[in-house]
Structures are given as C-alpha cells and as structure tokens.
C-alpha cells in the first residue's frame, strides 16, 4: 500500500499489477472469479489522490475521494447539485464510504451514476504516469463498457469540473428496481438555462444505462432549445430520445422498457425544474 505517488510508480511497473481504490468494484469482480492479477495495489493511502479543491471557475475532485466526502462537501452541494444528487443515489452508506469517484469513472459502467453528470458538466479527467500528465474530456476517456483510454503505466489523479455558470438549473434522476443499492435501469442528468419566462435558453442532457456508454443526443437538445419548458415540447423531445438511445435487454430490464423510460424521464423535467424554487448562484 504505497502512501505517495513516488512510492507507487515502481510498484506499477511490476508485471501483472492492478490498482484499486475503494475496492467495491474490483473485489466483487475478483470474487466472481475473473482471474487474479499477481499484485493488487491499493491507492487508498495516496495523499495526492484525496480531496476537493475550488479553483475559481472549476472544481477539482481528486480521484481517491470517497462518495461520502463528495456528498459532505459544500462546493459540490451548492455548485454541482447534479453530481451531488447522483452520488446520493449511489449504493448505500458503507458503499459510499468506501467507493471513490475515480473508481466509478474507471469502471466505465454504462450504469455508473457519476458519469451522466460528468458528461453534461463537460468534465475532464486528469491522468498521470511517472513521466507525463495529460487531460482528456470524459467522453473521450470512456471507450465502452469497462473500457477506458487509460494506459497501464497511468493512474487517474482527478477530475476537473467546470462550474458552468451559464446554466441555472440542474437535475439528476435515476430509475432502479428499488430505492437502495439499485444499479440504475435508466438515469438522466440535465443542465438547463431557464429564462424567468420559462424558456429553455440552453440545455445539456445525458442518459445512463441506455447504451454501451453514456448517451448524449444533440438532436434532442435541439428540439428543446429556444422553446418553453412545457409538457407538449417535452413530449416531442421524448420521441426524439427514444430514437436516439440504443438500450439492451438484461436481467434488470428490457430494451423497450428502457427506451420508454429514457423518454419519460424528460417529462419530469417540467415537474422538477419548473416548480423547483432553487436557482443556482452564479
């Protein structure tokens, strides 16, 4: 268990190694018998991977920060409520004490709860190897289910999230089989700039669990932009959504059900956003 990046690099160069942070994905996967790596390196003690920093127009969440710490953080609560709501719906209290945002991103599950918010917020992942640093937009980092652009000599150090002051409403909703510990069947993250008259000046949407990775759909956003946030308009957008997503059947739900829900989640924007008194501070 290295305690600094300096100590991590030599261990990472050993053959057949794998890193883990909270272990809530890795240790479950290993138990289900999918091959033991020679060496498991725990990132939990790396000082460089802990904490949340306010950098003015952006927030940096270090990769090893637990979901529980993210939920407790005042910057996240006030400036990034779309992420706070997603994290609140992730797993259970002990899972949120153990699991990290870096682990959620690197697992690259189509159902990963932090991913749709990170897509609409246009977050960037920060990667580091012994010799170099690089940054990638979240959408370029996630390649497919369980697949990312990370190289074996790299780790994820954190995620840079713009505060997006041009959007005054944020929303996250997840539909699962039950309230707690339910992996999402469909989820929706939305950023909206709503005028005082109720017009959608601008909007960004991202769905989880309805494709191999998070689904964004510019054509759906185009249907909504410049129009009032009303049920008729959302119905039209829901139709466009059902055409845009490509869900699969699995043990949790059928593709048709997911397609239906992906559209229906939009209707609730009218309820949740129009009636919600909160307008984010700029």
């Amino acid at each position: 268990m290295p305690e600094s990046l300096e100590a991590l690099w030599p261990a990472l160069e050993e053959p057949d190694t794998m890193v883990y942070a909270g272990g809530t994905d890795v240790l479950v996967r290993l138990r289900s018998g999918s091959g033991q790596p020679q060496q498991l390196i725990c990132l939990e003690r790396l000082r460089e991977l802990q904490g949340i920093e306010d950098h003015g127009d952006r927030v940096l969440i270090k990769a090893g920060t637990s979901h529980a710490r993210i939920l407790d953080d005042p910057i996240i609560q006030t400036r990034l409520p779309v992420l706070a709501r997603a994290v609140k719906s992730l797993g259970s209290p002990p899972i949120r004490n153990m699991g990290t945002i870096g682990g959620n991103i690197c697992s690259a599950s189509p159902a990963g709860d932090t991913l749709p918010p990170l897509y609409v917020l246009q977050a960037e992942v920060a990667l580091r190897s012994r010799t170099a640093d690089r940054r990638l937009p979240i959408g370029d980092f996630i390649k497919g289910p369980g697949q990312t652009a990370i190289r074996p000599d790299e780790i994820l150090t954190g995620i840079w999230i713009p505060k997006n002051p041009e959007f005054n409403r944020q929303h996250y909703e997840k539909v699962g089989q039950r309230k707690a510990l339910a992996i999402s069947i469909v989820s929706l993250a939305a950023l909206i700039e709503l005028t005082p008259a109720g017009m959608i000046e601008d909007i960004r949407l991202a769905w989880g669990s309805v494709g191999p990775t998070v689904v964004t759909a510019p054509e759906v956003e185009a249907v909504l932009r410049g129009r009032p946030l009303r049920l008729e308009v959302l119905k039209e957008a829901a139709e466009a959504t059902r055409r845009a997503v490509s869900p699969i059947d699995d043990i949790r739900a059928t593709a048709d059900y997911r397609r239906e829900v992906a559209g229906n989640l939009l209707y609730r924007l009218s309820l949740r956003v129009e009636t919600s008194p909160e307008i984010l501070p700029r």
């Binding site: 268990m1 272990g23 498991l40």
Partner: protein, 164 residues
Amino acid sequence: MKIRLSFRLNGNPIELETDAERRVVDLLREDFGFTGTKEACGSGECGACTILVEGESRLACLMRVGQLEGRSVLTIEGLSDGKHLHPVQQAFVEAGAVQCGFCTPGLILGTIDLLRRNPRPDREEIREGLSGNLCRCTGFQKIVDAVEKVVSSPAEGSDPCPVG
C-alpha cells in the same frame, strides 16, 4: 505474500503477520473469533459484515487485511463494556428489533455511523441510512423504531459513536 500489520481492534493494539490476499472478514472471524462480523452475500449488498473503521461503516467482505494498517477498528464485540449494553444495543432489545440476530451486528454498527453523521434523523433518514443492511426476519419497522428510540432519549454516559 506475507505482510506485517499493526492496528487497533476494539481498543486493543494488535500486531500480526498474515497473507496480504486475505479479507478482513476472514481475519476477524478466523484469527480473533469475532463471529459477530457475519458474512452473507460476500459482495457488498447485505451489510452483515459491517464494521467501523475510524468510526466509518465499511464492509469487511470487500476489504483486504492491509487496509487495516494503522487504523482503528470496532466490531460489535467491542461495543459494550461487558457490563452495560451500548444504548443502540439496548434500544434494539427494547424495541424487539432482533429476531434471529444475523443482521443485528451490522445494523447496530450501521446505526452508529448514521448517528455520527446525523444525530437526529427522521424515519425517512433512518431508512436511507440503513439502506445497505438487509434483514430477512424482523422487518424494518421495528428496526426503525429502535433507532428512533435512541434519537428521542439519548443515553447519558456512554459514547454514542465510539471509534474503537
């Protein structure tokens, strides 16, 4: 691979050498005989293996022994002083929130973590706070009643949220 470990377990300093690949739940049960830490699902879904590490609830079935190094661990065996039950244990008894008792250690430790974060949870918050712990036989009504009991009449004297 063997590793040397030192940590605190229920207030006592521990030093030992063991296999790095072992899980915390096995170490506690096999080496210390602390069978209050139950294993049911082994995959994070039921909360039967809940322990407190530095006062935070964690799942012993998803931890490797190395993660204990330098930390303070509390299991259900360390909760009472041997003479008096901890107020949360007492409330579970009084509310009839225990049937077979399999889930109980995890639920009690989960409750202590919940009360650390939120000393006055309402019923909805209690349900949310214990959502990682499954009970197959008592039913959650009485468990929520028990936690409500602790909230409404906090006991004097004992530490409501011991770290271990």
